[in-house]
């Protein structure tokens, strides 16, 4: 029973949808284990310019319950699909300013090839499948970012 509880806690820590910023260093440190010879990460940040318009702010909204479940599924599938040791997915929500962190995917593996492939696959899946939406606030008004 205790073992099951610990496992559940572990998954919750590896998948997060949060308002507060995250420390990339802490995540990378967490992935440094004896067997891991490669850690690849993707960090998504708020652009200050998009399609010729200044972006003053990015509002990130999620349907949290479903999005968290989706992130857990994506992580689980990545662990099956690729020869990797572990994966972390953290997505922020709320009102973010240019240059702030939005999303972090980090993958550890024995070799770099599988870490690169898994990291790229995970972020594509997150963008395509997790119910998380972004609205850019520009001097012309607000606009939802649609499509991958």
């Amino acid at each position: 029973m205790l073992f099951q509880y610990s496992l559940q806690q572990e998954v919750v820590r590896l998948i997060k949808i949060v308002e507060e910023d995250f420390s990339m260093e802490e995540v990378l440190l967490r992935l440094k284990t004896g067997e891991a010879g490669a850690i690849v990460s993707f960090l998504g940040v708020v652009k200050s310019l998009r399609e010729g318009d200044i972006v003053n702010e990015l509002i990130v909204e999620a349907y949290k319950e479903v999005a968290e479940e989706k992130l857990m599924e994506i992580r689980k599938e990545a662990l099956k699909k690729f020869d990797i040791i572990d994966a972390v997915i953290i997505h922020r929500i709320g009102r973010l300013k240019p240059l702030e962190n939005i999303v972090l995917v980090a993958v550890s593996s024995r070799t770099r090839k599988s870490a690169f492939e898994a990291c790229s696959w995970i972020i594509d899946e997150v963008k395509a499948k997790a119910p998380i939406w972004k609205k850019e606030i520009t001097p012309k008004g607000g606009r939802w970012v649609r499509g991958a």
């Binding site: 349907y63 319950e65 963008k127 939406w133 991958a148």
Partner: protein, 78 residues
């Protein structure tokens, strides 16, 4: 019976955070969706995802009093 309908992203801006809908007892999700499309034409013009009480489910799901139906756009990508 009464169910709650929640909207997300640009749908929330169109229809508000949530609304309550009176439907027949044991109405299916399909019947509720049809009723909502009659009320809000936009819902019939694009593909949206639907969950009941936080779980994505089929249109044949039978609803009960107080269920929360969430309607939301597919992932934003970008």
């Amino acid at each position: 019976m009464r169910i709650e309908v929640k909207y997300y992203a640009w749908l929330r801006e169109e229809f508000g955070d949530k609304e309550f809908l009176e439907v027949e007892n044991r109405a299916t999700l399909k019947e509720v969706v049809e009723k909502l499309i009659e009320k809000h034409e936009l819902l019939g013009s694009e593909n949206f995802l639907i969950s009941v009480n936080g779980k994505i489910t089929g249109l044949d799901t039978v609803l009960k009093e107080g269920d929360v139906v969430s309607i939301f756009p597919p992932a934003g990508g970008g």
